[in-house]
Amino acid sequence: MPSQMQAILWAEWRSLMHFRPREGAAGAALAGLMALAWYALWCLLGAAAYSFVTAASVEKLARALPRVLMFVLLYWQLSPVLTASLGASLAFEKLLVYPIPFRQLFTVETLLRLLTSFEIIILLAGVSLGLARNPAVPAWAAVSAVAMYGASNLLLSAGLRQALERVLARKRLREILLLVLVLSAAVPQVLFVTGIPGWMERLWAAPPLEWWPWTVTAKLALGARWPLGWLIAAGWLALAWWFGRWQFARSLRFDARAQSSGAYTPRLRKAWVDHLFRWPALVLPDPMAAAIEKELRSLVRTPRFRLVFLMGFTFGPLIWMPISFGREQAGSVVVSNYLTFVSAYALVLLGDVTFWNALGPDRSAAQFYYLLPAPFSRILAAKNLTALVVVLVEVTVVMLACLALRMPLVAGKIVEAYAVTLTLSVYLMAMGNLSSVYYPTAVYAERSGSPGSPARFRALLFLLYPVAATPIALAYLARYAFSSGIAFYLVLAMAASLGAIVYAVAMDSATEAASRRREQILAALGEGGGAVDAWGGG
């Protein structure tokens, strides 16, 4: 292996050895368990594919294999795009100053792609091993064809990643693309409920085209004596290699700063928008008003916030619509509480950028809060109030979106949506204040695809959301048990009161922790990276 490649891998290995999870042992263990469960699931799938392929007849395999291989290609290429999680990549800004040959950089970058969709490699390995053990199939042909197919996919994904990253460097385009990608994730939901359109069914049932890579690979893997097929497979591999190299070379020449620097904004528009941010001073004294104004300005200028805000009233209604109004769902709980469900979902989305890691977007500038002649609780309260305002605006927009879609909304349900979302907000913000001081992590506002909360903490959210929702669930239980709206609102009012107490206690604890852990907090918010960029998109 060339020495510079060795050096990069060695540096990354050393960095990993020095890594200590900031989220503590519990968070790391939970994240580890979830990753284990995820890959165990894929191992099961790989084992199932292995046992099916080992015993299946050639006729059966001839029908199934092209489809499995097509799924492999689609998953491998599209899953990083759809999840906007582009995976680990070389930190070009840090490495380009060194005399590293293009070939070495390209090789390391391509190998890193193995990590992005490792689960599909597990599945492909299962298929490949199964074919090799199947007595009706020549092992050498199966292994060679599937290996060529895997290599083509790897190179194609390397090229696609580079192309996508350059697109994502363009501010507006990035946001639009991410929104489209996110919205497209709702398509399977819609199809599941509305049924697959006829043209799609015909397309699926039609015999696959001869020259597609999955068709060629399947035929070759099953032992077809087809020299032209090997040539076509080699052609696909060469094409993927050329595409990967071409895109990588373009990325090396790409100046992200030039693309992300904003165009000139006319003064008139700025002045008009400026008035919108000044309302806190009309209703609150400084420094609270100033802090809220700062938060609002920062949020609106943060691509990630704009994305999740848009998702709240576009993706939210779309993803809940099939569940609520699809076949055999009429009159369900989700239908009668559609607006509440969509609003709560929007709140969950907003939490990532507003309260789970409230200090993250400030990064090392957070030290300013420690210099202020105001208690730290005031800062957290200002951030929470801003989040609350944003949530109220979001619920309103969601309601308008539902009305525009002619959803059956009544006044009572609108009031309920506001009441439930605000009560839930109180609990989530109480937890968010604690997570902000115990699990702070620097957030780079320009990355729309990257989540705002630390990776390991996100695993904990699966536990925290049900806990926060329990008091509200009790209110619904009361309505169900007593068939009474009054009972619902009484229990909800109690839940809100309890939430206020929880919030106050959590705020005291968070303020105390912010003071005690100030060094750790500032160090965590000021931390940078290594030769390979952290996992994340955009």
Partner: protein, 252 residues
């Protein structure tokens, strides 16, 4: 082929950010073995120029020649022969200082043993050896700059590009760095330095260039550019047209 007498030669360099020129038609020649000061107010285009020189930001137009080699055609050879202390950190936070220097040495093609030996010597020279086990993430700003300087020297470059190298460095460290740089210039290394500390530039540099709003406004030997007993600070203020009287704020 005869070696070019210029370590840096740029012609009509131009770079736009968001439609606005960050560097606008810059032409510059830096002789070999020269201690060259590249000055300018904040946002004048100094860092963008350095980013273009090292190939991190491709210019929109113009040509760059470093050590007689055209960029980007001979990018690999150029990179092998230059050292960089950037304004922003290129350090890898989760490595120790020694590990980082060894990594950089190996990236420049040094044998692992040589890289490790030089890393140890540079750590000692820059007084970072007392902190061997410390991660770079835990370094102070001055220590980070010293580590950057050590990394820029590990392969013994012919041309050093230094962007604010003394920022955050204490007086002892700064003195050590200055002496080292002067020694390197005496041995034929060319140094291209940007700094806002004009006293340092005045004391170290043979030649200076002043850039303002992306354009070169002044260039030459320091002594020849000065009028009478004018200091470099006076010269700088005159060149960028920033002379103004201090208006007293009543509340201050």
């Amino acid at each position: 082929m005869a070696e070019s007498q210029f370590a840096i030669r740029v012609r009509d360099l131009r770079k736009l950010y968001g439609g606005k020129p960050a560097v606008d038609g810059l032409s510059l020649e830096v002789p070999r073995g020269c201690f060259f000061g590249f000055l300018g107010p904040n946002g004048a285009g100094k860092t963008t120029t350095i980013r273009m020189l090292i190939g991190l930001a491709p210019p929109d137009s113009g040509s760059i020649e470093l050590l007689g080699l055209a960029s980007p055609d001979h990018a690999m050879e150029i990179k092998r022969r230059i050292g960089l202390v950037p304004d922003e950190s290129l350090l890898f936070d989760r490595l120790t200082g020694g590990e980082f220097l060894e990594f950089v040495g190996r990236m420049y093609g040094l044998e692992r043993r040589v890289a490790r030996e030089r890393a140890g010597e540079l750590l000692a020279l820059f007084e970072l050896d007392g902190e061997r086990g410390k991660l770079i993430a835990e370094y102070s700003k001055g220590m980070r700059k010293r580590a950057s300087m050590a990394a820029a020297l590990i392969h013994r470059p012919d041309l050093l590009l230094l962007d604010e190298p003394f920022e955050g460095v204490d007086a002892v460290g700064a003195r050590l760095m200055k002496e080292l740089l002067q020694t390197l210039v005496r041995e034929g290394v060319t140094i291209f330095l940007t700094s806002h500390v004009l006293e340092v530039v005045e004391r170290l540099c043979d030649r200076v260039a002043i850039i303002h709003q992306g354009r070169l406004v002044l260039e030459g030997i320091v002594e020849e550019l000065r009028h009478g007993d004018e200091t470099l600070e006076d010269l700088f203020v005159r060149a960028v047209g920033a002379e103004r009287t201090l208006e007293r704020l009543e509340w201050l």
